[in-house]
C-alpha cells in the first residue's frame, strides 16, 4: 500500500440487518489533502467514518487507513488519528483539562502547551466541567482533543456543528494549518460553504452511495440562495419569473419567494419598482437544493461545469 494514500476504501459496504448504511463505497483520500465528505443527513457519512475507525465492521469490502488494517492495527492506528465524533458525548464528570489530560496520557503524552494553545485559539475555558458546558463549548473540547496530538490523519464528523461563525472561521484556520503541516483531513459536513472554503476535493455521498468526487474548483463558486422579499402591496409573479438566474418563483400576496443562482442584481432592480418592506436572503441547506440540483441529471453537471 502506497503512503500517498491516507484512506482507501474498496467496495466498503455496511448493512444494518436489511437496512442499508452504505454500499459499494470506493473512496481515496490522498495523504496531505483536505477532503470534504458531503451529503445530507442520513446519507451514510457517520457510518463510513465509524467503519474507518473500526467501531463498525463492514458487511463487505474493506478499508485501509495509513496503509494499515483498521481492526488488526487499531491500537497503532488510533495513535495517528484525531477523531471528532459527530454525536459528541463525554464520559465522566471531569473538567475539560482533566479530560484532555486523560486523552493525552492515553495517546502516549501530549505537550500541555499544545492543549492550551488550541484552547486559547478557540476561546475555551479548560477549568470548567465538560458536562456543564454548552453544545458549542463541548464541540471545542472535541476539536482540541482531535488536534492536540498532531495526528497524521484527522477524521472529523460535522466539525463545525454548534460553533458560532467566528469559531467556524477559527476552525477552518486550524484545518488550513493542519494541511500546511502535512496532516490529512477527512471531514464530513452537510454545509457546502465550509467545505468549499477549506477542502481540496469533495466527495459527495447520497443514499449510502458515493455520488461524485470532485475538485473544489470544479464545483464552481456557485451562489445559489433563496430570497424572500416582502412588499407593501401584492405583486405579480410574472414580473419576476423571467429574470436571469431567478427560478422557483412563488408569490403569495405581497410576499415573493424565489431561488437565485448568481448575481442578485436583476432581482433587486425589479423589486425596486415596488415599495420593499423587507428582504431576506439565505444560503440554502445543501440537503435541500445543492444535491438535488447537482445530481438531478447528468446534464445539470455539465451546466455546473460551464458556470465554473
Amino acid at each position: 500500500m502506497t503512503r500517498d494514500i491516507a484512506v482507501l476504501t474498496e467496495d466498503l459496504t455496511k448493512f444494518y440487518g436489511s437496512h442499508r448504511g452504505i454500499e459499494g463505497l470506493n473512496l481515496e483520500v490522498r495523504a496531505g489533502e483536505v477532503l470534504g465528505f458531503l451529503g445530507p443527513n442520513g446519507a451514510g457519512k457517520t457510518t463510513t467514518i465509524r467503519l474507518l475507525l473500526d467501531f463498525l465492521r463492514p458487511t463487505r469490502g474493506n478499508a485501509t487507513i495509513l496503509g494499515r488494517d483498521p481492526r488488526r492495527d487499531k491500537a497503532a492506528l488510533h495513535r495517528q488519528i484525531g477523531y471528532l465524533p459527530g454525536e459528541l458525548s463525554f464520559p465522566g464528570r471531569d473538567t475539560a483539562a482533566g479530560l484532555l489530560r486523560f486523552l493525552g496520557d492515553a495517546r502516549g503524552g501530549v505537550a500541555w502547551s499544545r492543549v492550551t494553545d488550541l484552547a486559547g485559539r478557540l476561546e475555551l475555558d479548560l477549568s470548567r466541567p465538560v458536562r456543564a458546558m454548552s453544545k458549542g463549548n463541548k464541540q471545542k473540547v472535541g476539536l482540541v482533543q482531535a488536534f492536540m496530538h498532531e495526528p497524521a490523519l484527522l477524521i472529523l464528523d460535522e466539525p463545525t456543528s454548534g460553533l458560532d461563525p467566528l469559531m467556524q472561521q477559527e476552525f477552518l484556520g486550524m484545518v488550513r494549518d493542519a494541511r500546511v503541516g502535512g496532516q490529512t483531513v477527512f471531514m464530513s459536513s452537510h454545509v457546502l460553504a465550509e467545505v468549499q472554503q477549506s477542502a481540496d476535493r469533495v466527495a459527495i455521498i447520497r443514499d449510502g452511495r458515493l455520488a461524485a468526487v470532485e475538485q473544489v474548483e470544479s464545483l464552481g463558486r456557485r451562489a445559489i440562495r433563496t430570497v424572500e422579499i416582502h412588499f407593501d402591496d401584492p405583486v405579480d409573479a410574472d414580473e419576476f419569473s423571467g429574470l436571469p438566474g431567478v427560478s422557483d418563483v412563488v408569490v403569495s400576496g405581497p410576499i415573493l419567494r424565489c431561488t437565485v443562482d448568481g448575481r442578485l442584481d436583476p432581482l433587486v432592480k425589479a423589486a425596486a419598482r415596488h415599495e420593499v418592506v423587507d428582504l431576506l436572503s439565505a444560503e440554502p441547506d445543501l440537503e435541500e437544493t445543492f444535491l438535488s440540483y447537482y445530481y438531478r441529471a447528468e446534464g445539470a453537471r455539465d451546466d455546473t461545469r460551464a458556470h465554473a
Partner: protein
C-alpha cells in the same frame, strides 16, 4: 499511556464506589453491632417465624454468632447490596457509555478492543472487590471487638465467598453488556438469573427431591456450604470464580467481534 483508561474509569466511578462501600460497611456494622442487644429478641423472632420461612430466608438459627451473621449480613440483604453494586459497575464498563454516547471517545484511545475491555474490567473489578470485601473488613474488626464467639477464619471464608459471588454475577452482567451494549439487558438478564438461582438454592434446601436444584445456584456455593459453621470450601469458591472467568472471557470475545454504538 499505561492504564490511563483504568485510572479514568476509577475517577468516573469514584463517587458510586465510595457510596456503595460506605453503605455496605454501614449495613454490616449496624447489624453486627446489634448482636448483643439482639439476643433476647432473636429468640422471639426465631419462635415467631415458621420453620419453612426461616429456611427460605437462609436463617438456620439466630442465636449462635454464626447463625446470627448468616441471618443478617450473609443471607439476603448483604448479597443483594453487593450484587446490585456488581451489576451497576459491570454495566458501566461498556453498556452505559455505549448508550450514553461517551463510548466513541473512549474507544478512540489507541488500544485494541481487547485491551479496552481489559482496562475497563480491571477498574470495575478492583472497585467491586473493594465494595464486596467491606463486610469482611468490618467483621474482622467488630467480631473481636464485641466478643462474638466465632473463629475469624470462618468469617473470612464467608466474606471471601461474598466476593466470589459478586465476581460471578459481575461476570454474567459484563457478558450481557459486552455482547449487547444495552444497560436494560444487563439489569434484566442478571436480575432474573439472580432471583431464579436464589430461589433454586432456597427451594432446593427445603423441598425433598429438589435438592439437585441447589447445585445450579451460585448462592449455594457461596453460603449453602455453611462457611460460618464449617469454614473454607475452596472448590465451591473456585467454581464461582470460574464462572466469572468464563463469562468475562466470553464477553471480551463477543465485544471484540461486534459493531459498537449502532
Amino acid at each position: 499511556m499505561t492504564l490511563a483508561l483504568t485510572r479514568k474509569t476509577w475517577r468516573d466511578d469514584r463517587r458510586a464506589v465510595v457510596g456503595w462501600a460506605a453503605g455496605v460497611a454501614a449495613f454490616t456494622g449496624i447489624y453486627t453491632g446489634f448482636y448483643t442487644q439482639f439476643q433476647g429478641a432473636a429468640e422471639l423472632k426465631q419462635d415467631a417465624l415458621p420453620k419453612g420461612m426461616l429456611d427460605f430466608l437462609g436463617i438456620a438459627d439466630m442465636l449462635s454468632p454464626a447463625g446470627y451473621l448468616q441471618a443478617t449480613v450473609f443471607s439476603l440483604i448483604g448479597p443483594l447490596l453487593v450484587l446490585m453494586c456488581a451489576v451497576l459497575l459491570a454495566a458501566r464498563t461498556i453498556a452505559r457509555p455505549e448508550e450514553e454516547g461517551g463510548m466513541e471517545l473512549l474507544l478512540a484511545n489507541p488500544i485494541s478492543r481487547v485491551a479496552f475491555a481489559g482496562q475497563r474490567l480491571a477498574a470495575a473489578g478492583a472497585a467491586l472487590t473493594a465494595v464486596a470485601a467491606m463486610p469482611g473488613a468490618v467483621l474482622l474488626i467488630l467480631v473481636p471487638a464485641i466478643g462474638m464467639d466465632i473463629p475469624l477464619s470462618r468469617v473470612v471464608a464467608a466474606a471471601v465467598g461474598l466476593v466470589a459471588l459478586a465476581w460471578c454475577f459481575a461476570g454474567i452482567a459484563f457478558l450481557t453488556g459486552a455482547a449487547t451494549g444495552r444497560r436494560g439487558h444487563v439489569l434484566a438478564v442478571t436480575g432474573v438469573i439472580a432471583v431464579a438461582t436464589y430461589m433454586a438454592n432456597a427451594l432446593g434446601g427445603m423441598v425433598d427431591g429438589l435438592g439437585w436444584l441447589r447445585y445450579l445456584s451460585p448462592f449455594y456455593y457461596f453460603i449453602g456450604t455453611d462457611p460460618l459453621q464449617t469454614g473454607w470450601h475452596p472448590g465451591a469458591l473456585l467454581l464461582l470464580v470460574a464462572v466469572a472467568a468464563v463469562t468475562t472471557t466470553a464477553g471480551v470475545i463477543l465485544f471484540d467481534r461486534r459493531d459498537v454504538g449502532v
